[in-house]
Amino acid sequence: MSEGALQIVAFCCHYCAYAAADLAGVLRLHYPAEAKIVEIPCTGRLDMLEVLHAFEGGADGVMVAGCLEGDCHFRTGNLNARRRVERTQAVLASIGLEAGRIQMFNMSSAMGKRFAEAAQSMTEEIRALGPSPLRSAVDGRAEILSEQGVAENAQGPAT
């Protein structure tokens, strides 16, 4: 996997950032293709285990995008998420990954431009950090699977 193909998983709240990403598309705003969006019902649903699995699976960065502070549909989900992101940053640092590989962003559903900017800034920061050191191991596994004729993300038999 080349450095140009960074993988950034964006956990986006259903009520704001996911809609903001949609709006960015409607507005024809460009944002990096490296950001792969995962819709979650609220950033308060963010689970450190899923974030770690993203990194273990080869993600170079994780962005968590929730509502503006004070505007959470569930009142405090985004505030809880911010603390979890900070804890996850400490965990990443303890295992030898840069803490900045996970970051929290806040936006409303009307802020399509803000989403595009957040995705852009996250991608630039991760590009500056370089690919995750875990990627080589993951890529190695992919090569083995490829040699065995197993597609890692097989979608079922081709028709």
Binding site: L52, V91, I95, L97
Partner: protein, 228 residues
Amino acid sequence: MIVAEQKPLEEIEGLIAEARKVLVVGCGTCVTVCFAGGEKESGILASCLRMASKIDGAAKDVTHITIQRQCEWEYIDAIAEQIGEAQVVLSLGCGVGVQALAERYPQAWVVPGLNTAFMGLPTEQGVWEERCAACGSCILGLTGGICPIARCAKQLLNGPCGGSQDGECEIGRGTPCAWQLIYDRLKAQDRLHLLLEIQPAKNWSSSRDGGPRKITREDLRLAAETSE
């Protein structure tokens, strides 16, 4: 419940350094509800150890499993196969759980992933406070349900001492003076007369001073089967 917290990752890495195949064993009881060693925490720690070892260039095979209680043979026996395959068993149970695994599987190398802290309760989500010191001779009936053994830094039976200032213990850290709490509660319940009785020196033989403790209930023990 028993309250524990995870050891620093660096210390855990040292404990499992020599092993390539590691089994993290979580416990579904006390350490689950204090977010130290349940299913979620076992998964997170296993993931962290896999990633840390990969980054260090010596990838370990770290798997995890959680049983309902690490302090009962019935649950421990169910993971014999997984224990047998591991070079190191990293227990996320309390100190009882670690010892139970080591006792049941004497051939296994069992190491602790947690520091067992105390018996207490969550006073709010994310905050745990000590409430019981398991002294083996409960006096809560005299003190309005507030334990001076667990909550007074000096374990006084006839407090407070001169270190009590404005309801706070001199050790600081926002620790309330247990004897101030006791006085306030007894006063509110019009039971201050309970404090007029001087408590004699405590007999600590029922606590740690008497050595390891053991309770036997003959009525609960299973009778040995007789063969005809």
